[in-house]
């Protein structure tokens, strides 16, 4: 799997900062089945880079266009959550991203260094009283588009792990 050169930088900036976890990246020679990790600044540009990396992962796994869209959008929503709601665009905080094709599934995890997110507290966006809210649909879309979604509380921060089973890809409508 190949990534844009910008993704290869460690720590996401010109000056090294302590990241959520150490970076282990070897994307140039990585096979379709494999794993890569990187850290990025808390910017919308980073969201675009994570989205592009997820699209590449999904494409190389052979997902059809609809499934690629679902995976890419779910990952984008998770990245937006990490950058916007988790790290609140704080330049001192990073998001840590891992993309993996295990052969049987695509596993994408995105961790922020924010105050933490309790998924139980997110209102149901489909409830009639919430339909006209301007926010609150991101996690719902992630859950709708992926086969598994796991939340893990870090100290500080939240890690979301999204799983798409490759055998099931295309079965959802």
């Amino acid at each position: 799997m190949k990534l844009p050169a910008r993704l290869l930088r460690r720590g996401g900036g010109s000056s090294p900062r302590p990241g959520p976890e150490e970076v282990d990246t070897n994307p140039v020679s990585a096979p379709k089945q494999g794993r890569m990790s990187f850290s990025l600044n808390s910017t919308m540009e980073s969201v675009g880079e994570v989205e592009a990396a997820a699209d590449k992962l999904a494409e190389e796994a052979g997902l059809d266009e609809d499934e690629r869209f679902r995976v890419t959008m779910a990952v984008r929503e998770a990245a937006v959550n990490a950058v916007l709601h988790g790290n609140e665009y704080d330049p001192a905080k990073l998001i840590a991203v891992t993309l993996e094709n295990t052969g049987g599934a695509l596993v994408i995890s995105i961790a922020d260094q924010g105050r933490g997110l309790d998924p139980e507290t997110i209102p149901d966006p489909l409830a009639p009283e919430n339909l006209l809210r301007g926010t609150g649909r991101g996690i719902f879309l992630i859950r709708s588009f992926m086969d598994e979604v796991h939340f893990r509380q870090l100290h500080p921060g939240t890690e979301l792990t999204l799983v798409k089973h490759l055998a099931s890809a295309g079965e959802k409508t």
Partner: protein
């Protein structure tokens, strides 16, 4: 691709032809500004043509809802025209399909404001 918005008048209805992505940081603010501008000018009938919008995220959905409620609160009507399959599916998934008045055909949409 960032969002482009073109405005035209058809029989007393302002049609905003949108093309590109409506996502956080790409297009959501443009829609908000365009709607506020129209409301400020006293326009009561707004039709958003989404025929060339191929991607919308949760923020973009929120922006459409915001445009809808802004118009409604000001006594104006906002309707949607020509959803792409992806946008259609998202509106259905999020039940926003039940909120908006949606048309496939522009003439029918324009006529519905009368």
């Amino acid at each position: 691709m960032a969002l482009a918005i073109a405005s035209r008048e058809v029989d007393g209805v302002t049609v905003l032809d949108l093309s590109g992505r409506i996502t956080l940081g790409e297009g959501s603010v443009q829609i908000r500004d365009a709607i506020r501008d129209l409301i400020g000018k006293g326009q009561k009938n707004v039709l958003l043509n989404l025929g060339d919008v191929n991607y919308i995220d949760s923020s973009g959905l929120g922006e459409l809802v915001g445009a809808y409620t802004t118009c409604k609160n000001q006594g104006a009507a906002l309707k949607l025209l020509k959803l792409t399959k992806k946008v259609h599916d998202l509106l259905q998934l999020t039940k926003l399909y039940t909120v908006f008045d949606i048309y496939d055909d522009e003439a029918s949409a324009i006529a519905s404001f009368k």
